[in-house]
Amino acid sequence: MTLQAPGFWPPTGPEIVFLLLGVVALGSALLVVTTRQLVHAALWLVVCFGALAGGYLVLTAEFVAWVQVLIYVGAVVVLLLFGIMLTRAPIGRSADLDSGNRWAAALVALATAAVLVTVVVSGFRTAYAPLDPGQGAAKPLGSSIFRTWVLPFEALSVLLLAALVGAIVLSRTDIQGRK
């Protein structure tokens, strides 16, 4: 941390892009919780995740960015949409998406945001970490996964296995089973 932190003004290109992406992420997140159409909420989530992925990219965490796109935008949102369609959720506007608790919920959300923003701002006020292109690429991550993080990595495979077994247990409808 001997590097002198450059000033905030004038902002560099990546800084501007990062700020814009942040605005997009925040705005789409707000839309997720305020839209009156359930399916739209899931789709706004795509925008939010996409903006986050862009943010990762600007911070040179390339691999994480693509993971975000592939897993969250690609798979999790699809699962969410199927989840919505499994239930009797109406397509289109629904009037009962608001509950009486919305003001309390908004208050809690605001308080949480305030606490977290305060924490991050006061924690990293003067911290300066120069971006080091290439650190977040797949290759260094591969080396560290297979060296430092081998054990959690293998434990993850077990978690995936357990999750799939669980999904089948809960959903298998063929009572006959396979002989």
């Binding site: 897993i71 798979a75 699809v78 996964i145 297979f146 999750a163 089948i168």
Partner: protein, 119 residues
């Protein structure tokens, strides 16, 4: 970062083309009303009738999505392994094989439980 500039340019070009094509169509194309044009588009076949309110999807879609996520995650881990493969040596190979075998067990289980059958 410079690596992404061409990608960004390409993305802008693609988006521009798409917006341009859709945006220009109402001004250049003929406008003739037709009932079929207002129907839902289902790859050229007659649209499947839907119950009022959208109906519910069968659970098998959910299972498919779950399967997709699990194997998506597996592929994600394969990628950094493959890129760093030359440096990881035999140990990396063994660990990856272990990982794949474990997830393959899940695959075998789902297959035997007819999780892969559609009907």
């Amino acid at each position: 970062m410079e690596l992404y500039v061409p990608i960004l340019v390409l993305a802008v070009l693609a988006a521009g083309f798409a917006v341009f094509s859709v945006g220009i169509a109402p001004f250049t194309g003929p406008k003739r009303w037709n009932r079929a044009k207002l129907d839902a588009y289902e790859c050229g076949i007659e649209p499947t009738p839907q119950p009022v309110g959208g109906g519910r999807f069968p659970l098998k879609y959910m299972i498919t999505a779950m399967l997709f996520i699990v194997f998506d995650i597996e592929i994600i881990f394969l990628y950094p392994w493959a890129v760093a493969f030359d440096k990881l040596g035999v140990f990396g190979l063994v660990e990856m094989v272990l990982f794949i075998v474990t997830v393959l067990v899940a695959y075998a289980y789902v297959w035997r439980r007819r999780g892969l059958d559609w009907d």
